[in-house]
């Protein structure tokens, strides 16, 4: 009983991850992160991704504020923010977000305001897609954990 339930959840995780890899949302760097998780740092992947979300949202907010300003002209600043986003996205394996940030950055290098606005929209879209997918993944993982705990608990109460 214990095995079957966890297997199903594990299959869900695998399916989700495989899909994300196929779509190019994630790349192999995401797998590298998993290699960094062990008993001494058991929630590493979860922690890093959450920090990535915090940092990215700050940057995206700043980018939107900059571009919404009618008198905006600081393309260099946009570029700096995007360098950060490109870097951190690539470090956690968020390939699609990284790629659309690079495209956005090209527009900023050409001082192309409408291009930047479009670029920002695309980045925001990809970012939120990734975030939702990660949340889904975490939800399944939480289910695995609580399922395992419940099963273990039940087993300990009544090992029949």
């Amino acid at each position: 009983m214990l095995g079957l339930g966890v297997d199903r959840l594990q299959a869900d995780i695998n399916r989700l991850l495989t899909s994300l890899f196929h779509q190019g949302v994630l790349d192999e760097q995401f797998l590298q992160l998993q290699q960094l998780q062990d008993d001494t740092s058991p929630t590493f992947v979860y922690d890093v991704i959450n920090i990535y979300f915090d940092e990215s949202e700050k940057l995206l907010r700043n980018l939107r504020l900059l571009l919404m300003d009618r008198e905006f002209s600081d393309y260099k600043k946009i570029g700096l923010h995007l360098n950060q986003l490109v870097g951190s996205s690539s470090s956690i394996g968020a390939r699609r977000v990284r790629n659309v940030c690079v495209a956005f950055r090209s527009a900023s290098e050409l001082n192309n305001r409408p291009g930047c606005l479009r670029g920002l929209e695309v980045v925001e879209h990809e970012y939120h897609y990734l975030k939702n997918m990660m949340h889904e993944l975490f939800q399944v993982l939480i289910h695995v954990i609580s399922y395992t705990h419940n099963s273990l608990y039940n087993y300990l109460i009544d090992p029949t």
């Binding site: 760097q29 922690d47 890093v48 920090i51 990535y52 870097g87 951190s88």
Partner: protein
Amino acid sequence: MARDGGVSCLRSSEMMNVGIRGMESPPLDVDEVHVLAVDDSLVDRIVIERLLRITSCKVTAVDSGWRALEFLGLDNEKASAELDRLKVDLIITDYCMPGMTGYELLKKIKESSSFRQVPVVIMSSENVVTRIDRCLEEGAEDFLLKPVKLADVKRLRSYLTRDVKVSNGNKRKLPEDSVTVNTSLPPPPPPLINSSDSSDSSPPLTISPESSDSYSPLSPVEIFSSPLSSQLDEEDDVLTSSPESSPAPEESPIRRQKMESPGLD
């Protein structure tokens, strides 16, 4: 996990303060590789720190070139080399950083007398050949393309080990003046080596597999717990000149002992 650019290890100067009050030493494992990582991105700092820790390095991660210089004691004009015998085995820095770039940091490190021999590795997300060449010309040991992977860091670790085992006159030696220090400050107490404590270093960085019993006649613990200077000198000579000593008599703990306790002559 560390979320700030704070310093996470003891400086030698702090060790010295501890020594003044008594003969206690902080549990500094001299055999551990200590890496200074510099990156303005929090996410990248966390990843690089984890990559290094998982390969048994002690890590200090800072968020800017300025903080790196500050940590190394290179941030002001006065020569603080004698006061701050910091043990840094490798510096790994991002190239693109606001304020001071990794390249500028590299130059400053190579210009310093205390740290010019520390290998510096540059990381960058851009594969720009001219940038790579420039860094290598300025003395960078290696150039890593981001995102950095475990295999990259393992490779770095392996050539650090090689350096340390090769010879006495290698990159990890501190400059000559640190050996004949004549400041008014008491010398740092010899650090205790507790080899059973190095549980997260597998394999131990600087000790070759067969060498743990080749420090004869004295084990590292005995060497480092001896408080008397003359005794230490004697032991030094015994270790380096004895034919029974390990195949590489310039094994790092011995050399490091010289580095760490220079004023005991």
